[in-house]
């Protein structure tokens, strides 16, 4: 932790937009991220088995694990939705300008050593492309999976209706399609974590929570006054 004397001294010396090593991803955010990752891997693995693509886990165990993991993930998402709204962090996922610039960077700029067009900040943890990807993750892929999954889990409640046969087919289709999208998301997401300063930089950030970002004078002053965000300089 930084000492007050050091801080007051640096405040006079450092320029606006200086980089600081700050807690960007709070403890809950990291817990959410990594438990979600574990659950999604579990669900994807057991789900592929249930879909008949491998038999490395017997069907009964796969059903049990898949169901419990799904319930755990739904609970996690409920907490996280609550967290997102009470902390105001949901604004991080809003649409930002400059998506094309980011796409151009990953398609070309990254190869020739251009700097990333987007500067991370306390109130803008994600670049424009990330926001768009995470937004569709949370508003399309996620809901398609959990809503079809819940209906699937409750099959026995509606199996008596005449349309239950077609209903099951439809639900299975939506669930499978969304699962493929989720798998695709995860592959790209995991790869993108290697595009930081070093291949493991982003992963370390997501584990420790700290990253080096520019703080505005106002942010810095606010943090120093309230200690609402921890800084390791």
């Amino acid at each position: 932790m930084s000492r007050p004397t050091h801080n007051s001294k640096s405040a006079t010396v450092r320029q606006k937009g200086e980089k600081h090593y700050v807690m960007l991803y709070t403890r809950y955010e990291r817990f959410w991220h990594w438990s979600q990752a574990l659950l999604i891997f579990t669900l994807f693995y057991t789900g592929l088995g249930l879909h008949g693509l491998h038999d490395w886990l017997d069907f009964r165990t796969a059903v049990t694990v898949h169901s419990y993991a799904a319930l755990a993930l739904i609970v996690l998402w409920m907490f996280t939705t609550f967290w997102n709204f009470t902390t105001g962090q949901w604004r991080q996922y809003l649409f930002k300008e400059g998506v094309m610039k980011v796409i151009r960077f990953y398609a070309y700029g990254i190869l020739v050593g251009e700097p990333h067009p987007y500067k991370k900040g306390l109130q803008r943890k994600q670049n424009a492309l990330q926001s768009l990807a995470y937004m569709s993750f949370m508003l399309l892929i996620g809901p398609a999976l959990w809503s079809s999954g819940i209906v699937y889990l409750l099959y026995d409640v509606w199996s008596g209706y005449r349309w239950s046969g077609q209903g099951l087919t439809l639900i299975a289709f939506i669930h499978t399609a969304a699962a493929y999208l989720m798998g695709t998301f995860v592959i790209i997401h995991v790869y993108m974590t290697t595009t930081g300063k070093t291949p493991t930089h982003y992963i370390k950030t997501m584990i420790t929570g700290y990253d080096s970002i520019e703080l505005t004078e106002a942010e810095k002053a606010y943090i120093e006054e309230t200690h609402s965000v921890s800084i390791r300089d």
């Binding site: 249930l50 008949g52 017997d58 069907f59 059903v63 419990y68 990953y106 046969g165 790869y191």
Partner: protein, 483 residues
């Protein structure tokens, strides 16, 4: 003997005369068909009608050998076949057969009537089994889930009848009320939603649910809840009877009448080329019947079944070109709200039919006369006489047609730990592979969705690999430029 029984059990005769064991007749209230052994065509010896002298050995009465049997006379009831507890009582054909059948009852001890009369009781498995284990003309031939191995089964063969364990008699499940038994094959309760019913025993059904309830699996674990969710679509028997004919006695799966009638030196003969699990040799050819194929530890045939059998009777017409004739076809579909997936033993037979009228035929098989097939080996004559005896139109031309019969499986229930694993059905090439029209997780998928899914996953993998490679190549070049 019967007079003595009825002198005390004064109502028993009247009750028993309502039983199908006596009438051999069943009027189906739904289809209006007249059923029962008295009328039906079957896929084994083809018809009891006209052959009662032999077949009515398994009629619980004395002396039914032709149309003149008196169904009103209570004194004709055979109480002993069900109530003898010595195991020494037996029955013989009601009329003489031909010389070809002479060897069937050699070496039987004479019945000791005093001993039998003093040892009567409620029927045991061997009483019911004396007929029901031997249906179709021999041990285990007809059903596959009923054969002589159930006299003293172990737990593995039948968890309920386990002689060292629960030791159920047939009537433990097939509960009776005034000599009427629960558990009809002509009107099967394919789906029992009532379950345990009111306190005390239900006396109307022999269903698993009537003891085990309609949600028999443990609701305290997820797998149990999931299994209970299967009960509305899957009969208990489907998972809990993993295979049939697994007690060392084979069941017949194929019978070809076309080859019957071959003789050696003018005499009929048998070939016993199948040795079953308990070591007994089974006939694979008999001059009087044709060629047989057996199976043991047989995986049943599965299909949706709503409990309603539809019989091809002697007056039903069919098109032989439409494929095998289903002697007892059945209804059922995944979305009719009544059906469940049931296991069946499916019997395949090639048997005579009336080529001119496209109907099945009655054959005159049994009798000490010139017309009986079991003596003259003459299909044309046996069929003509069999039809004439019952005034049934016959074109005079016969041929052979393929038939199927379906026997719902409900016995040989294995211990719970030997019930089917989920994957037996929830997999490609699983047991329910041939059932169509519904989505079965683990078996079914959407072809185009899977292709698109693989393309997306594979594309993403290839894409990031290529991107990573490019990054590395450019970084190396950059470093060389600096150096």
């Amino acid at each position: 003997m019967t007079k003595a029984c009825l002198s005390c059990h004064t109502e028993a005769g009247r009750h028993f005369k309502q039983s199908i064991h006596w009438t051999w007749e069943y009027d189906n209230p739904v289809t209006g068909q007249k059923l029962g052994k008295k009328h039906l065509i079957n896929t084994f010896c083809t018809n009891a009608r006209g052959n009662e002298g032999m077949c009515a050995q398994c009629h619980a009465g004395y002396g039914w050998k032709d149309e003149n049997f008196d169904f009103d006379d209570e004194n004709n009831i055979d109480c002993l076949v069900c109530h003898d507890r010595t195991g020494t009582y037996y029955r013989v054909p009601n009329s003489m057969g031909n010389k070809a059948c002479a060897v069937m009852f050699q070496d039987r001890e004479p019945i000791q009537w005093a001993k039998v009369a003093q040892n009567i009781g409620k029927p045991g498995r061997e009483n019911c089994g004396s007929c029901h284990f031997y249906g179709g003309g021999g041990d285990g031939v007809k059903h596959g889930d009923l054969d002589s191995s159930l006299k003293f089964p172990d737990r593995h063969l039948d968890v309920h009848m386990d002689a060292e364990g629960l030791n159920f008699a047939c009537t433990t499940c097939h509960v009776t009320k005034q000599h009427l038994w629960a558990g009809s094959r002509y009107n099967v309760m394919a789906r029992d939603t009532e379950g345990l019913g009111l306190p005390g025993e239900r006396r109307d059904v022999a269903t698993c649910e009537s003891c085990h309830s309609a949600s028999p699996h443990a609701n305290t674990e997820l797998a149990g809840i999931k299994l209970n969710g299967h009960v509305d679509k899957i009969a208990c028997q489907t998972c809990h009877i993993p295979s049939i004919a697994r007690g060392g006695v084979a069941t017949m799966v194929d019978w070809d009448w076309r080859s019957a009638g071959k003789t050696k030196n003018g005499e009929g003969y048998k070939e016993k080329n199948y040795t079953q699990g308990n070591g007994a040799h089974r006939a694979t050819y008999k001059s009087i019947k044709g060629d047989f194929t057996y199976a043991e530890d047989l995986i049943p045939h599965y299909d949706w079944f709503d409990g309603q059998m539809l019989y091809t009777t002697i007056d039903s017409r069919f098109q032989p070109s439409d494929g095998p004739v289903e002697i007892n076809g059945f209804k059922g579909a995944y979305d009719d709200g009544n059906s469940r997936i049931w296991p069946f033993k499916r019997m395949h037979t090639i048997q005579p039919y009336d080529k001119g009228n496209n109907t099945m035929v009655y054959m005159h098989l049994w009798g000490d006369d010139e017309d009986a097939y079991w003596g003259n080996y003459d299909f044309a004559r046996a069929i003509r006489v069999g039809m004439e005896q019952h005034n049934i139109p016959y074109s005079g031309r016969y041929d052979f047609v393929e038939t199927y019969s379906f026997w719902p499986i409900t016995h040989m229930v294995a211990p719970s730990e030997e019930a089917l694993d989920c994957v037996e059905c929830h997999s490609r090439d699983g047991r329910l592979d041939q059932l169509e029209g519904f989505y079965l997780p683990g078996r079914d998928s959407f072809r185009w969705l899977d292709i698109l899914g693989y393309l997306a996953l594979g594309g993403a993998l290839l894409g990031v690999l290529a991107h990573g490679l490019l990054r590395k190549l450019f970084a190396d070049k950059h470093r060389q430029g600096e150096a």
